[in-house]
């Protein structure tokens, strides 16, 4: 093992790093949309986009560590069973530590700014006459009611392109109200109402699954939701039996 290294000997490291970064970026670009449920709301578009952005940002860092580890295994692993000779006795390198610290801080600040921006958009209400839906969890069913209509249902019906405000509560234990296709989740707590907003922008059917462990039949606390055109939604609402 020569202790004097000329610059060219790290060429392999840069190539592995570049190749792994490309692989990481490709996974980051395509895997989220491929694996996650079909996006049906503004929140879910943002969720998928955030995952893509974070994956792409993380790719070169993760690839750098993997590349170095692989390069170390290839070039610096000691062959044979005897005790290896001492390596270079480097204890500190202020330039490397400072650079690492600055780069990781810049990346972290970027993630934070993106996250705070996305958070503001995510939780925001556009205030244009949202449809209010009262969501109640109980072991182990969801029920949805539409204030002002006396309609109550165990499946959720929503009109497309209109903001919805879910007011979520529970009558027994904590449940988790999650629409995977819309990227929104909030707990249903006893004695408290939590609100969450989204605007469905695709027609179709989706699942609502409980994400907070709620006892025996937690795995079966599932129901369906439907996004309808506003005409369909109005006629569905009118067709429902009115509860006094």
């Amino acid at each position: 093992m020569s202790t004097s290294t000329n610059k060219n000997s790290y060429k392999g490291l840069y190539w592995i790093w570049a190749a792994l970064t490309v692989v990481g970026i490709l996974i980051g670009l395509y895997a989220p949309a491929w694996l996650m449920p079909r996006s049906m709301s503004n929140n879910m578009h943002l969720t998928v986009l955030t995952m893509v952005v974070f994956s792409v940002a993380a790719a070169p860092v993760a690839a750098g560590v993997y590349a170095t580890a692989l390069f170390a295994l290839r070039h610096w692993a000691h062959k044979g069973d005897d005790v290896p000779a001492p390596g270079p006795q480097v204890r500190e390198n202020a330039v490397v530590v400072t650079t690492w610290l600055v780069v990781s801080t810049v990346l972290t600040v970027f993630l934070l700014i993106w996250g705070l921006g996305a958070l503001a958009v995510d939780n925001g209400s556009n205030g244009k006459n949202p449809l209010v839906v009262d969501v109640t969890g109980q072991q182990w069913v969801w029920s949805f009611s539409y204030p002002g209509t006396h309609v109550q249902s165990n499946e959720l019906y929503l009109p497309v392109n209109r903001e919805v405000e879910f007011r979520v509560t529970s009558v027994d234990v904590t449940h988790g109200f999650w629409i995977a296709n819309m990227g929104i989740q909030v707990d249903a707590n006893v004695g408290t109402i939590t609100t969450i907003h989204t605007t469905p922008d695709k027609l179709g059917t989706f699942n609502i699954r409980c994400t907070q462990f709620c006892g025996l039949n937690h795995a079966f606390m599932v129901t369906e939701g439907h996004v309808l055109t506003s005409q369909q939604f109005t006629s569905w609402l009118a067709s429902q039996p009115q509860r006094a």
Partner: protein, 621 residues
């Protein structure tokens, strides 16, 4: 003190000991059983059976009786009582308690020698991992296909609660228990821990707690997951009382152990062993111990409140009585997040140590390593509410907690810098500890990157409560901490047994566990991304393939762990002999003979430099 070594060599059993000569694990179990029965009898006869909380009152009485009886039966109270009554232990008594001349029987007793306690911790870790692992296999078998086919939902829910808690306990002690006890005092140049009897107490208290935790499966009716969610925990049966009492007893054990490690390092270092010359593993151990002292009181507090709610009908966490489930969640995660780093830091410290020895280089930027571990410990107490982003509690605090959580990636990144920097251009000795260390590096990256997704609230709103989270923290605990723990085991195994851990079996085990982890938990990420929530006993057909793959991966991990167990058992007495310093390392634990004599050093060493000067070692030899 120079006679100590000779006394060990003659190996005569000292005359002292008194009653302690008759006590061991068996008397502890009998004592625990008897006093538990006595408390059950009294509760049964004097409490009001028509009370709504009657069965919980009886269960709590019984568990208190168990631990008191267990302590009595192991002899934990003898020395304090003798001290109070003015008949303090003599030198002969102390030597007897330290296990002098007692062969393997001392491993079943209240033995104060830190090396005995270290070995007992190795065995306890393996027992806890084994029990938790069997439950993991049962859980994965249930989930291999959709529908309930293996166990019913009630049993399944008990399995996930007990699997979670057993594994958390196992990993809290996995590195800090064996090596914090076995090597830290020697690394500091001390003859034993600062409080040897407390050391034995911490170990046997853990045994008592583990017994209670395993009992919960028999008494059943656990509905609350390992985090003891309220108010659902209120619906659990008396298994919940055993569960909570096991945790309270466990926190006593960790508190005692943490105080002991910190006091040992702070007061017992030999001449010249300044803080800046400490082996880096000692830093990992004491920072984790200090963090545990902050975190674990919340653990016992929250479980005590749960028990008081259940037995005295108070309502800390019961909404109908003015309590709040969110209070339980806050208290739990005030413990729960620092606890992750109580688990991680000793493993990271050990890997810094191992990377240096194996690459024949000093730890790269020792001060960065200490600062990163300290900084991580400090930050970790400010991030707890990221477990509560989706609960609806204090939405305005989302931004601040997102900030503190994302800052975690800076000290974590420094861990990689130190590890990579230490390996950089080294002559890396590819032995078992090194191989498992590389496994840690590969897995910890995945754990870190997926942690970044979860720290971001809009993304967490999608991924929280799903299998994605489960896969993430299994990459932390199995992929990272377990790999660090096995690396540490392979590294210090020759110091404990005088023999190498079997290299061939160790490598087979590595490949099985490494591949198994990728198969299991990458597929689990897919389940989570597709939309499968956690703690499901059954699932929709769209999650079928990823769950099947996860279960196959889990079986591969089990096979690997069984091979590792086989390697440990066969190598313990029959492995390839190793000298006192098989890795040619410079820290003090390698300078004493193997097996390490009672009280470690014949003459206490004087330290003139840190243990990382490999260049000089070459000159000397």
């Amino acid at each position: 003190m120079t006679t100590t070594l000779e006394q060990t060599k003659t190996a005569a059993i000292p005359q002292g000991g008194g009653l302690a000569r008759r006590l061991n694990m068996l008397t502890a179990m009998v004592g625990g059983g008897l006093v538990a029965w006595l408390f059950w009898f009294l509760a049964h006869h004097f409490l009001d059976p028509t009370s709504r909380t009657y069965s919980d009152e009886v269960a709590v009485s019984l568990t208190i009786g168990w631990i008191i009886g267990f302590w009595l039966g192991i002899g934990a109270f003898i020395a304090p009582l003798r001290w109070v009554t003015g008949r303090d232990n003599t030198r002969a008594d102390d030597l007897y308690l330290a296990g002098q001349g007692q062969g393997t029987s001392r491993y079943w007793k209240f033995t104060t020698d830190h090396k005995v306690v270290g070995v007992q911790y190795i065995v306890m870790t393996m027992v806890l991992l084994g029990a938790g692992g069997i439950l993991a296999m049962a859980i994965r078998t249930e989930l291999i296909v959709p529908g309930n086919h293996f166990v019913n939902q009630q049993v399944y829910n008990g399995f996930i609660a007990v699997h979670g808690m057993l594994m958390i306990l196992a990993l809290i002690v996995a590195v800090a228990g064996p090596w914090g006890n076995f090597v830290v005092p020697i690394m500091c140049g001390a003859r034993d821990m600062a409080f040897p009897r407390l050391n034995a107490l911490s170990l046997w208290t853990l045994v008592g707690a583990a017994a209670l935790l395993l009992t919960t499966l028999a008494v059943g009716s656990l509905t609350m997951g390992w985090v003891v969610l309220e108010p659902i925990a209120d619906q659990a049966g008396i298994g919940m009382d055993f569960f909570a009492m096991a945790i309270i007893v466990f926190t006593v054990s960790t508190t005692v152990a943490g105080v002991n490690i910190i006091c040992t390092v702070m007061t017992m270092r030999t001449k010249g062993m300044s803080l800046a010359r400490l082996p880096i593993f000692v830093w990992g151990a004491i920072i984790a111990a200090a963090l545990g002292l902050y975190a674990f009181p919340f653990f016992s507090l929250v479980e005590a409140q749960t028990l008081v709610d259940r037995t005295f009908s108070t309502s800390f966490f019961v909404a109908s009585g003015g309590g709040a489930g969110w209070l339980q969640a806050n208290l739990f995660w005030l413990m729960g997040h620092p606890e992750v780093y109580v688990i991680l830091l000793p493993a990271v410290g050990a890997l810094f140590e191992i990377s240096s020895v194996m690459a024949r280089k000093p730890v790269f930027s020792y001060r960065t390593a200490v600062a990163a571990m300290t900084g991580l410990a400090g930050l970790s107490i400010l991030v707890w509410a990221h477990h509560m982003f989706t609960t609806g509690w204090a939405p305005t605090l989302g931004g601040p907690f997102m900030l503190t959580t994302e800052l975690i990636s800076i000290p974590t990144g420094l861990f990689f810098l130190v590890l990579i920097g230490t390996l950089w251009r080294g002559n890396i000795w590819m032995k078992l500890p090194t191989i498992w260390m590389f496994g840690f590096i590969a897995n910890f990256i995945i754990a870190g990157v997926t942690g970044i997704y979860l720290s971001d609230i809009p993304l967490d709103d999608q991924l929280h409560g799903t299998m994605f989270v489960t896969a993430h923290f299994h990459y932390v605990f199995v992929g990272s901490v377990l790999f660090g723990a096995v690396s540490a085991l392979a590294f210090w195994f020759p110091k404990v047994t005088g023999r190498f851990l079997n290299e061939f079996l160790g490598r087979i085990s590595f490949w099985l566990v490494f591949i198994g982890v990728q198969v299991t938990f990458l597929a689990m990420f897919v389940s989570g991304l597709k939309g499968m929530p956690r703690r499901y006993s059954s699932y929709a057909i769209i999650f079928e393939h990823s769950n099947f793959i996860t279960t196959i991966g889990a079986y591969i991990i089990m096979a690997g762990m069984l091979v590792l167990l086989g390697a440990v058992i066969t190598s313990w007495n029959k492995g390839e002999p190793a000298g006192p310093n098989p890795w040619h390392a410079n820290s003090l634990e390698w300078m004493v003979p193997t097996p390490v004599p009672l009280e470690n050093f014949d003459v206490l060493p004087v330290i003139t430099e840190d243990p990382y000067n490999y260049g000089e070692e070459l000159v000397r030899s």
